[in-house]
């Protein structure tokens, strides 16, 4: 029964539970947030969703290869600080500083990737250390939030092109195109191999260190895009602006079905995870919860979301036991 096999394959797909969650949350959001399905609200939502989705993709890539990046948030902060302290009103400056920002994001990621790939310290501690280093550097450059982002620049983030395509969505489409391209590249397949079983990958002749560096490079691309979004959204440089992104990125990736052990999951799930997290944060905001409870609720909701993500997986594992 081919249909039966297709359905089973669908149900066993690592992204399926998150897809269900997504549907549920969309419904909830529609109830709570007024005008949820209107274009205005759609556009505004995606202004915050896009960076979340991007960092989810970034973290997902790193987790897939068997590592983790706890310096993601601090990296974003550092990039915003660098950009805000250098940018001036001329178009040339805007272009150059943007390129510099992208280069900085790539550099930070590759720094992690190089050491984790070639020397092999535990990624958790390594990125924990670099996150402190980046945070300190950001504080050094800009002890209090500020800097200068020209209006012409950050307004772009809020614009809508051709009357129907908000800029954040465009950025997202670029990211998706990048994802599709990646899927057909050899190095990407090797990423899954290294994350799935480093020993097997090595025995098959794969350059493990190179693959890890590649993963961090790809992650850096997503981080760069996310940093640009944050700059566009906040128009300032802030050494603490990225703090929340670390937990959010990990949670989004895991909720999206990326297995923490590596080698399992896909970008579709990561994107869904990012949207789910955005919707969750939306719900907390619009449910009129007092600011005292917001941090608390966010943590609780993430745990609950993880619970729902974990339970179907557990049931499958137990039946194999």
């Amino acid at each position: 029964m081919k249909a039966h096999r297709v359905v089973r394959g669908l149900l066993q797909n690592s992204s399926f539970p998150s897809f269900l969650m997504l549907v549920l949350l969309i419904i909830l959001n529609a109830i709570i947030q007024p005008g949820f399905f209107s274009f205005q609200v759609f556009r505004m939502n995606f202004m915050t969703f896009t960076p979340l989705i991007l960092v989810s993709l970034a973290q997902a890539t790193v987790i897939l290869v068997g590592a983790v990046d706890l310096s993601l948030g601090a990296g974003i902060s550092l990039v915003t600080v660098v950009m805000a302290s250098l940018m001036q009103d001329s178009t040339l400056s805007m272009v150059l500083v943007t390129l510099l920002g992208v280069a900085a994001a790539l550099f930070l990621s590759l720094f992690n990737g190089f050491f984790i790939g070639y020397i092999g310290p535990p990624p958790l501690i390594m990125t924990f250390a670099t996150s402190t280093m980046w945070f300190g550097t950001a504080l050094l450059i800009m002890p209090t939030p500020g800097g200068h982002i020209p209006q012409a620049y950050y307004m772009v983030y809020g614009k809508t092109l051709a009357g129907f395509l908000p800029v954040p969505v465009l950025i997202l489409l670029v990211a998706v195109a990048f994802c599709l391209l990646l899927g057909r590249i050899k190095a990407f397949r090797h990423l899954y191999a290294v994350g799935g079983s480093e020993r097997a990958a090595r025995a098959s002749g794969i350059n493990v260190a190179g693959t890890k560096i590649f993963a961090f490079f790809v992650s850096g691309v997503f981080i760069a895009l996310a940093a640009l979004c944050v700059v566009g959204q906040t128009a300032t440089g802030d050494a603490r602006s990225g703090q929340g992104f670390t937990l959010n990125s990990v949670a989004a990736a895991v909720i999206g079905g990326i297995a923490f052990s590596g080698g399992k999951g896909n970008y579709v799930g990561a994107i869904i995870g990012g949207i789910i997290l955005g919707l969750l944060i939306n719900i907390i905001y619009f449910a009129n919860i007092t600011s005292f409870y917001q941090e608390f609720m966010k943590g609780v909701i993430i745990i609950v979301a993880l619970l729902f993500g974990a339970v179907p997986r557990l049931r499958r594992e137990l039946s194999h036991h």
């Binding site: 899954y192 799935g196 080698g263």
Partner: protein
């Protein structure tokens, strides 16, 4: 043409001389066996030849030209492929992705050519008569199927030299036959094959020649063109000693011994034990005291599940289990251990050892786990217990401070045994205890087992190797698709009967034996 030649290869590791004088020659279209005990240097030699290690001295020639292999990729470029033991498969990826791993071909624009990879994988799988879809993920297939995929992966590289390292360790005789067919086909095409194995009867069957290693050097050769294909000729080369004819008690004598103990009831009784999903259905049998009961049959038919349930590890079974006559629900491992049940698990590295801990630490762990009473652990008493265990299993070297990861596979397995000896179990469950273990250690292990049985320990043994069942068991139950389909006793335990029963060929309405029998005796 002599495709591979090794002369006077030397290799030392820190303080250990692994190879002092290794010699080997291989001709095109020939299957040459490579045998030797753990620690004989044969594994080191295989790794040097396949480029994983660099030798300290000696000469290596490929296709009659001297070579210097710096990595296994160098070896692969020389059209040499090596089959690992499950070391090069990524569980989450599909079979075809695994087969193509590391050699992915790209089409235009440097994008992956998936269709080509799938086709190549299908062809490779066909060569060894494997019927699983190449789109299946490796984690979903059984260990024997994984082994076959490893072999397929090597074949897909279209090698001129193929090194098979313990390729049949997880395979049943059906699959071994398929492999041998493929090997013969390759021979005809002029491929040269090195066949490394502990399974001497297989070596005798498929190889044209063999080379034996002992203590780091080549000690002998056999050419089956002139000599008889008899394992008994091989064993002395490996052990350096005359073959010890196994002194085995006749089955009548064993029956008397066991009957003598039966007055005190059975050690274990299973009645209608089942697991959901059809993994086990209505399993019933009884284990008498001091008996060695075998579980036979093809791989993965439920033997491991039976053992895991009795160990208290696998939960959620239905049916009744009695230990020493008392009906019990084995809730967890602690419960089982308290009843005197001990399990030697199937994968010693993943389930039986703390690799980075000392021998002492490993041996004492179950004892420590079950310990009650004193405020601090009684070091002196425990140390003596451990020394005793190390002695009983003849651990080499008998140093309790050694880190287990530094021991050979056979000695590691001895540590796993030693763990449970300190607890004096009533029932010993064995999950394929001599898989991947050399001939010398295998004899040790079975001496330990028969010693325990004589002293009254009841043994439930699952062995994938029929010969072990024949040599050691008083009775054998054959398991097929989660059911017990036949009971074979005493002198009737022969290779032929075991094979026939394993395939469940005669299912002529025979009632599942052992069910409903009150005394567990043979019919």
């Amino acid at each position: 043409m002599t495709v591979l030649e090794a002369k006077h290869i030397r290799k030392s590791f820190v303080g250990v001389r692994a190879l002092s004088d290794a010699n080997f020659a291989l001709r095109a279209g020939e299957v040459c066996g490579l045998v030797g005990a753990n620690g004989s240097g044969k594994t080191t030699f295989a790794r040097i030849v396949s480029g994983l290690l660099m030798p300290d001295g000696g000469e290596l020639r490929l296709y009659e030209k001297p070579v210097n292999l710096r990595s296994h990729l160098d070896a692969e470029r020389s059209r040499m492929a090596m089959v690992h033991q499950n070391l090069s498969l990524v569980p989450e990826m599909t079979i075809w992705e695994n087969i193509a791993l590391g050699r992915e071909k790209t089409g235009s624009l440097a994008l992956l050519d998936n269709r080509g990879a799938v086709a190549q994988a299908e062809k490779a799988m066909e060569t060894i008569s494997v019927k699983i879809s190449v789109h299946e993920r490796v984690k979903n297939i059984s260990p024997d199927e994984k082994q076959l995929v490893e072999i397929g992966k090597a074949l897909a590289k279209d090698p001129r030299i193929l090194i098979l390292d313990e390729p049949t360790a997880s395979l049943d005789f059906h699959q071994v036959e398929s492999l041998f067919r493929a090997v013969r086909e390759l021979k005809e095409r002029g491929v040269a094959i090195v066949f490394i194995s502990h399974r001497l009867w297989e070596v005798a069957k498929i190889c044209d020649r063999l080379v034996a290693f002992r203590n780091g050097e080549t000690v002998g050769e056999l050419d089956f063109a002139v000599q008889e294909r008899n394992e008994k000729l091989i064993i002395p080369l490996i052990t350096g000693q005359e073959v010890r004819e196994k002194v085995r008690k006749g089955s009548a004598e064993r029956e008397k011994e066991i009957a003598g103990r039966s007055e005190r009831g059975f050690a274990l009784e299973l009645r209608g034990v089942s697991l959901d999903g059809g993994r086990l259905t209505d399993v019933s049998f009884s284990l008498r005291r001091g008996e060695v009961l075998g579980l036979g049959g093809l791989q993965g038919q439920g033997q491991e599940e039976i053992l895991m349930i009795l160990a208290g590890y696998l939960k959620g079974y239905s049916g009744e289990i009695r230990v020493n006559g008392k009906p019990l629900a084995l809730r967890n491992t602690r419960h089982a251990i308290r009843q005197g049940i001990a399990l030697i698990p199937g994968d010693r590295q993943k389930e039986g050892l703390f690799l980075e801990h000392s021998v002492l630490s490993n041996i004492l762990y179950p004892k420590v786990s079950m310990h009650r009473g004193t405020f601090f652990l009684p070091r002196g008493r425990y140390q003596k217990l451990a020394s005793g265990a190390i002695d009983t299993v003849s651990l080499v070297p008998p140093n309790p401070r050694l880190i287990v990861s530094q021991l050979s596979g056979g000695n590691q397995q001895k540590v796993v045994f030693g763990k449970w000896l300190a607890l004096s179990p009533n029932v010993l469950l064995l999950n394929d205890p001599t898989k991947g273990v050399d001939v010398g250690t295998r004899q040790n292990v079975y001496e330990i087992i028969s010693g325990l049985a004589e002293k009254g320990t009841s043994v439930l043994l699952y062995a994938s190797d029929n010969e072990e069942l024949i040599d050691n068991c008083d009775r054998v139950f054959i398991v097929f698709e989660g059911r017990i389909v036949k009971e074979i006793c005493g002198d009737e335990i022969t290779e032929e009967r075991l094979v026939v029963a394993s395939l469940n060929v005669e299912h002529s309405g025979e009632k599942s034996p052992g069910a409903g029998r009150q005394d567990g005796r043979s019919p």
